[in-house]
């Protein structure tokens, strides 16, 4: 269907399909005189202007050169629906500026999924990006939404790339990583210079039952270098911790086309993630990279502050009664003599603790747990599922006493076991600890407890909290290190308020 609207504009409709929720999907092309403004498309039902949920304009190769000289022609996809609280009534009309034309009363063209499969990937990506930003467009994702799960089917057709990968699809190197907080980084290196209009765009694809839900990532503009581009994004606040695993839909687009792929980012602890983030391309402006990293870290910090204080508020301080069960959390037991020392101290530990939890590397932890299993006096667990413990409130009414071998050694030598056991933390405060661990450590219970212990011992900001083995070098490395240390350091007073130095 092709109609002239007003004096100059031509509107062609290839597809008109109703979607669920009163939404309408329209696809076609539009032509207007070069030098005049791009016409604004809209829909009206009776007297009610519909709300445009997605309005995608894109280049169509079949139109290039087919139109008269002196005109612009572009394809479009429009999804519109009634504003909230209104009902559809009357005939549908297309509006182009002040002009309008009646829409066909019946479905037109192929089903949406079939049609999208024929469209340029960039256009569909734009539609998905719109769907990520506006949940009402998710009608296009589910079969029952009227679009026959069109976007879902399109997403499923995008090739998967197992990253990191070299020399695939015209890309020299691609890597993608994520944290449990829902942050991700995508870095693409090209075998050629990055084009001035080349753009890296990423949408998260969250698992939602058996389908993929596009989710918009928040973050600064990607960092461009001569031969590559790097993007940092994070899922919106309010995502759980850890976030459910998610994929990334990546598009590196330029006016003539682009490369699109899906990938599952490697889930890594925050320090390793930030190390990957600060890794320089080597060919970019160092100052730009540093400034970009600085901005990312500021954004991280702001997001953390909100989440951490919300977690703190959710576990208001409470007096830990003297009878609160003590859980001795033995960590960093990775030396042969650690288990031996625990063996020698077992009776004293049993006298003071109702339960023992051993965290850390599985082998040594099992060896330590064996000490208590063979004695059979108090229960012992191996491993600490920190997110699970927070979710279930496993230790919400207990006092957790982190114990590492060197502290145990010192306590045994000085007769300071009572003092050692007085350094506990309210189990209810594990929620903010979890937030802290997610942002500046690892959700691994052993790592989190070890860092917490050092924090409570007053070593925050010192070498005890450094992330060894991370390639955090140079000014950028220092920036990241300081960012991580500051998270722990600044969280210390609040966590100390939840810690006890004597059972109350």
């Amino acid at each position: 269907m092709k109609v002239r609207i007003g004096q100059d504009d031509v509107l062609a409709l290839d597809c008109v399909q109703p979607l669920g929720g009163g939404h309408v999907f329209v696809q076609g092309w539009l032509s207007w005189p070069r030098g005049t403004a791009t016409p604004v498309l809209g829909l009206r039902a009776g007297d009610l202007p519909l709300e445009s949920l997605a309005h995608v304009l894109y280049d169509r190769s079949d139109l290039t050169g087919a139109m008269d000289d002196g005109r612009n022609s572009r394809g479009f996809i429009l999804v519109a629906g009634p504003p909230a609280g209104t009902r559809l009534a009357g005939e549908f009309h297309f509006t182009v500026g002040t002009d309008e034309v009646a829409m066909p009363a019946t479905r037109l063209g192929a089903p949406v999924a079939e049609l999208l499969a024929r469209q340029p990937w960039g256009a569909v990506f734009d539609l998905i990006a719109a769907a990520a930003a506006d949940s009402r467009l998710r009608t296009l994702l589910v079969p029952e939404g009227g679009g026959a799960g069109a976007l879902d089917r399109w997403i499923a057709s995008v090739p998967r790339l197992a990253t990191p990968v070299e020399n695939q699809g015209g890309l020299a190197h691609v890597e993608a990583a994520a944290t449990a907080l829902g942050e991700c980084v995508v870095a693409v290196t090209l075998p050629r210079p990055l084009g001035p209009q080349e753009e890296l765009r990423v949408v998260a694809l969250a698992e939602d039952r058996d389908r993929r839900l596009p989710v918009r990532l928040e973050g600064p503009p990607p960092l461009r270098a001569e031969h590559g581009v790097r993007l940092y994004g994070r899922l919106p606040a309010g995502s759980g911790l850890p976030v459910a695993s998610f994929d990334l839909l990546v598009g590196l687009q330029h006016p003539g086309g682009g490369a699109w792929f899906r990938t599952a980012p490697r889930l890594i602890p925050a320090p390793a993630f930030l190390a990957a983030l600060q890794h320089p391309h080597g060919d970019g402006n160092a100052a730009d990279g540093f400034a970009w990293l600085h901005g990312v870290l500021e954004m991280r910090r702001a997001a953390f502050d909100v989440a951490f204080h919300a977690a703190l508020a959710s576990c208001a301080p409470r007096g830990m009664p003297g009878e609160a069960p003590v859980v001795a959390v033995l960590h960093d037991m990775d030396d042969r003599f650690a288990a031996r020392l625990v063996f020698l101290a077992a009776a004293e530990i049993e006298r003071r603790a109702a339960e023992v939890v051993v965290v850390g590397a599985p082998g040594p932890a099992a060896e330590v747990a064996d000490v208590f299993l063979q004695r059979g006096r108090i229960p012992v667990r191996v491993g600490l599922d920190l997110p699970g413990a927070v979710r279930r409130g496993t230790y919400a009414r207990a006092r957790l006493v982190p114990i590492e071998p060197a502290a145990l050694a010192e306590a045994l030598e000085t007769g300071g076991l009572d003092a050692l056991f007085a350094r506990g933390i309210d189990g209810a405060a594990l929620a903010p600890v979890l937030r802290l661990a997610g942002a500046a450590g690892s959700l691994d219970g052993g790592d989190a407890i070890a860092r917490l212990a050092r924090l409570l011992a007053g070593l925050e900001g010192g070498s005890g909290l450094r992330h060894r083995g991370m390639p955090l070098v140079g000014a950028a490395g220092h920036l990241v290190t300081e960012h991580l240390a500051a998270l722990w350091r600044d969280a210390a007073p609040a966590l100390r308020a939840r810690a006890s130095h004597e059972p109350r």
Binding site: L341, A345, P405, A406, A409, L412
Partner: protein, 427 residues
């Protein structure tokens, strides 16, 4: 926790207790190996039995078969170390350890006297203490294994540098595969175990001081020389120096790197070049063994020529007689030596000593009274001392003032003091 500080008194509750049954737990049995520690423990066993104590000896050994504990002789038992961890400081096989603990706990002993923790297990000690809170626990530390992971010798792993104090970073430099933290924990485990003993017995003041410096402060620490045993104690002592023996030196022992035989052979070669009448007899090894261990010694051996003789292995029962055939016994160890039995044997024989000027050797041999000192590891200095020693007058003078080894009665008094079986005023 120091048990002695809680409910224990080291004084006997009654006179009858002075004959309290004793169980000696030792890392080896002298029937199976000839180390100084096990020999000393066995001689203690015999001496206590002869003194009327009810005493048993439970020794570590390596044997196969289904049994973990075997009777060896009346009052003597052997247990297998097969279930121990590789370093023989803890038990890997809990069942083996528990069986041994049950066996020991069933002993009528009121006193458990341990010799060594190696091949016995720190965990075994701790578990037995829990199982027998009524008993007293005493340990004799023959070496410095708790302080030093290098076989307790306090000598650096690279080179022959002596170590004077353990420190985590220093120990880690000797064992780069272990971080300093490992040595912090290692020390703590040993210290925690040793602190639980009511008394610690040392064969020399040197080793006691090393343990004190290291941080061990038991309720009672006693220096008690190892007893040579009735058989050697009964051998008549040489009463007067034989001038003809003044230039005749002897070495008794194995050609291990730490015993310093290479130092002696080099020093002797230098000495004999300047004083051709000197002779050296080496007991305990053959020439080939020495060259196998120290191939570069061949020129020194050739230089010494017929003045040097190797006599191979010897029977321990003959040692006093063999020493009495020499003018001097040389102990050239390059490590500290805590209380080498060869010094006690030489004193028993009445043969003066030439020793390295360090550790237990320097302590046991009073210079000018029991023998002479030379600079540890220095062949030229030893050569000079050997030539001085060959003076018959000096030899006679020192032979006359030479101490005897510890007598049985004195040893038993010291032991009872360590066991807390002696009233305070008698100490």
């Amino acid at each position: 926790m120091n048990r002695a500080e809680s409910s224990w008194s080291l004084l006997p509750a009654s006179p009858e207790e002075s004959r309290a049954p004793v169980c000696i737990v030792v890392h080896a049995h002298p029937d199976l190996s000839k180390g100084g520690g096990e020999t000393a423990a066995y001689r203690e066993f015999l001496a206590l039995r002869a003194a009327g104590h009810e005493v048993s000896l439970v020794a570590a050994a390596e044997f196969g078969g289904p049994d973990h504990i075997l009777p060896h002789a009346p009052g003597e038992f052997l247990f297998s170390t097969a279930g121990m961890a590789e370093d023989r400081l803890f038990w890997a096989d809990i069942a083996d350890r528990r069986e041994l603990v049950r066996f020991l706990a069933r002993q009528r002993a009121r006193i458990f006297h341990f010799h060594h923790l190696w091949r016995i297990g720190l965990d075994l000690v701790a578990e037995l203490m829990e199982a027998r809170p009524d008993a007293r626990f005493v340990i004799t530390l023959h070496e410095m294994l708790a302080i030093c992971a290098h076989h307790g010798q306090m000598i650096r792993t690279r080179g022959r540098e002596l170590c004077r104090a353990a420190a985590p970073t220093r120990c880690s430099a000797c064992f780069p595969e272990w971080q300093p933290r490992h040595f912090v924990l290692r020390r703590a485990a040993f210290l925690e175990t040793l602190r639980r003993f009511e008394a610690v017995v040392y064969p020399s003041d040197f080793i006691r001081q090393r343990y004190r410096d290291w941080g061990l402060a038991p309720a009672r620490d006693v220096v008690l020389e190892n007893y040579l045993g009735d058989a050697l104690a009964d051998v008549p002592r040489r009463q007067a120096a034989d001038p003809a023996l003044a230039g005749h030196f002897a070495f008794f022992g194995q050609p291990t790197p730490f015993k310093g035989l290479d130092v002696l052979l080099r020093g002797f070669a230098l000495a004999v070049a300047a004083a051709p009448g000197l002779t050296l007899s080496v007991f305990g090894c053959e020439r080939e063994e020495v060259l196998g261990m120290f191939p570069t010694l061949a020129p020194a051996l050739d230089q010494a020529g017929p003045a040097l003789s190797f006599f191979g292995r010897y029977d321990q029962a003959d040692v006093i007689h063999l020493m009495q055939g020499a003018g001097w016994v040389v102990v050239p160890s390059i490590w500290w030596e805590n209380s080498p039995v060869v010094i006690q044997e030489a004193m028993r024989a009445g043969t003066p000593l030439i020793v390295s000027d360090i550790g237990g050797m320097a302590e046991k041999v009073r210079p000018g009274l029991d023998g002479l000192h030379f600079r540890r590891g220095s062949p030229p200095n030893l050569a000079s001392v050997l030539r001085q020693a060959a003076d018959p007058v000096r030899h006679a003078t020192i032979s006359a003032s030479l101490n005897d080894s510890i007598a049985r009665a004195e040893f038993l008094v010291g032991l009872e003091r360590a066991f807390g079986l002696m009233p305070a005023e008698a100490e």
